[in-house]
Symmetry: C2
Subunit: 461 residues, 2 copies
């Protein structure tokens, strides 16, 4: 990879989605990146401030555009090896049969050193610039994960997973060990990369989910999260079998209330799935500022449910909702999950079908007039909404002066030959906004020719 | 493209799915391809018949496998240019605003000559070896489509679309012209490529859908289909708005019955979507041998409905069901639609969610024990089921002695470098069946390194 200056001027098209329903397309602009942040965006060259005039200029081609990096709010790093396989059984069986054994193997640091760099390559290759990661229960392996993220330059929030009950013998922790290792990991991260909002790696307190955490562990983790003012990640309201299990453990109580009582549910709490939330729970999450991570692929596949985002946007307009791949529960990339997010929102407004035995026609139903969930909205979920979910709006997810420069250089002109170097077909008369739309709906990693985090090139020449 | 002999011996792994729920993995076998057909499959070299001993041997690497080519039962060729775009409005509006104008442009043969070869490249690149294609209403452009298919060597069933009512002025036909052009197209195809089951291009009688066809046109097309014993393709029971429109035209009657009365519904009738079928209609289709084409991506996106395949398999075990991309209504490839078929079948068995205002827990629901819809089933739908849908079981879709050799050479060992030459990550300890699974769930066209139709190489060196 050629060394690139971290201060430079981009000249070409910027595309982002500050709102869910409109693209902001800025063609031919000059974007000054200075020391990893966006110093200036202006329409013409002679508006570039005097002090940036000497910077090298990166001029984009007509088929190229720069867009915000993707923010994946939910990844299980130790499950990467089984991505795309072993998805044929319900969630709780899946954990016992495939997933706990896969994670238990991370007791070996060398296994972590084999798998984690491959995951990070996969993420950067597909345009993910911020990853919120579950590690395994192991402190050493989770430190390796954090170090590999920092070395590769991906922005990461990393947690050592905690589980002191209902976990196989070879993988379970004691309550005391789990708390001690969590606090050590948090302190180690802060010491190594600082505690600021823009630290390249930040620690996350990570109770795996209610079923594998004793009340004592949950309370202890809540204390650590508050002591260090750090992020919390877990799962909530995912599936029928998970819900039933919680009910046997905590009769009459449910995930969100249990997290709240343990001091884990605040504005730095990121909860995956949430597809079976009661409305009162969504209201609670909105009130305290916690984030719902919709994982469309995984939710349909494992939870047989979806997060009703359009309805939440209407009824709980301040509820933070971002997007996650849930590797390896979901087997898609962020692009796949953007597309599945569009499908998911159709699923939530499925038309009633009369399968009745008669072929007679009775009445015609009315068709809803507007479908607002499209590629723009999907991209917004994967970028601006993800940033908001991490309390980093203005810093990530859109291009603003003062924001960090986490971005993708898309080239949608790689066609040619027998199908050539990109997945979709270009006809040559598409404008840049249509090329971007085709990338969101039908493109892939091939179009992601360069990736920057904090202004540094982390993928591509 | 290097010339390849059409008679050769493959030595390596064959994978196919003769049943929906099991892979047939034949490792290290010898498969003799002679004059486009599979002459012999045997376990060891000295079982190869004497007369094939001199044929060149194509030896596969450990990461390579040969699988049946994909059969896409529903494609709108003239919509290819808009693939992945313009999907934000309901079906009937979408036709008027985007799709009829896009198709009307095929009045120009030069436009057809620009777009159709690119579509065929896209299909072959993604591993589609048999394509069932709607052309436009234009005879000349549809002949170009058929000729381009034959020239590229893709197996194709092609129809001139028919529409004599409710279509914009610049695109509508008279009933007489539509019938005349259809009959001319059918005769022209049969003369050019023969009328046999394995002709490389076969004609299809193609009433667009009930709303754009007068009863006179439907009846006339039924007569042509019977006179030439050829395939029929159309749409049925797709969406709420389509259903409502049919109801205004044919009070008290529905698609399937109308096709049947016109003489169009037989065992060579392929009907796209069918997601709003009444059970009695599914029973009728089973009885006459007509095929349902499930287009999972398009159905969710535009019809807000799905084809309940597992339920149909149980209740209508002889109903033929295949898979289609519905380009450009669905924006995925066959691989995308296989994955969406898995999601679709989860959607059909979605778990009930209590969104009630109370956070109290009442009862836990039971979880169904088995989910039989997985990557094997999805691949079966895209291959063996598609062949059955075209009455070509034994000839396409699985590897049998006597079958035509329509196949894909998958290489799942193209990883390396910064993510390298394939979409998914190989760890090196996967067996060939697991590599195949990863391809179905997370791979793409990059792994499709060679494509054969009738034993001839049509993609790859």
């Amino acid at each position: 990879m050629a060394a690139r200056p971290t201060s430079f001027v981009l000249n070409g098209t910027l595309i982002d989605t500050p709102t869910p329903h409109a693209l902001r397309v800025r063609e031919g602009v000059f974007c000054v990146v200075d020391d990893g942040a966006i110093a200036q965006i202006c329409a013409v060259e002679n508006e570039v401030a005097e002090r940036y005039r000497g910077l090298p200029v990166v001029k984009l081609a007509e088929t190229q555009m720069v867009v915000p990096g993707l923010i994946d709010l939910h990844i299980h790093a130790p499950q990467f090896k089984q991505l795309g396989t072993k998805t044929d059984i319900p969630l709780m069986e899946w954990l016992q049969k495939y997933t706990y054994p896969a994670e238990a193997a991370f007791a070996s640091p060398s296994h972590a050193s084999l798998v984690y760099p491959k995951l990070i390559t996969h993420l950067l290759k597909n345009g993910t610039t911020t990853a919120v990661l579950f590690g395994s229960n192991h402190l050493a392996a989770t430190k390796i994960l954090a170090e590999e993220c920092a070395a590769a330059g991906i922005r990461a929030l990393v947690g050592k997973t905690c589980a002191d009950i209902l976990t196989p013998d070879e993988y379970v922790e004691t309550t005391a060990d789990s708390l001690r290792a969590t606090e050590e990991f948090v302190e180690w991260c802060i010491k190594k990369w600082g505690g600021g909002v823009d630290a390249i790696v930040r620690p996350v307190v990570t109770p795996r989910f209610i079923p594998t955490c004793s009340s004592e562990l949950l309370k202890g983790l809540g204390d650590i999260a508050q002591k260090y003012n750090c992020f919390v990640q877990s799962h909530a309201a995912e599936s029928v079998d998970e819900e039933a299990l919680v009910q046997t453990q905590h009769p009459g109580r449910r995930d969100v209330a249990i997290f709240r009582e343990a001091g884990l549910l605040g504005d730095k709490c990121v909860l995956a799935h949430c597809c079976r939330l009661r409305d009162v729970e969504a209201a609670t999450m909105q009130e305290v500022g916690a984030t719902v991570v919709s994982c469309p692929f995984s939710n349909i596949l494992f939870a047989r449910a979806t997060v009703p985002i359009p309805r939440y946007n209407r009824d709980f307009p301040n509820l933070k909702i971002g997007l996650g791949t849930d590797i390896a529960g979901g087997f898609g990339t962020m692009l796949d999950n953007m597309r599945t997010a569009i499908l998911q929102d159709r699923v939530d407004s499925f038309a009633a079908v009369d399968r009745g035995a008669s072929a007679e026609v009775e009445t015609a139903e009315a068709e809803p007039a507007t479908w607002t969930v499209d590629f723009k909205y999907a991209f917004h979920l994967a970028t601006a909404a993800g940033a908001r979910g991490l309390g980093m709006q203005g810093l990530l997810g859109t291009f603003e002066e003062g924001a960090r420069f986490d971005a993708l250089l898309l080239d949608c002109g790689l066609d040619g030959g027998e199908g050539g170097g990109q997945r979709f077909t270009r006809f040559g008369d598409e404008g840049v906004a249509e090329l971007f739309e085709k990338w969101v709906t039908t493109g892939d990693d091939r179009n992601v020719v360069r990736v920057w985090v904090d202004g540094k090139v982390v993928k591509g020449g």
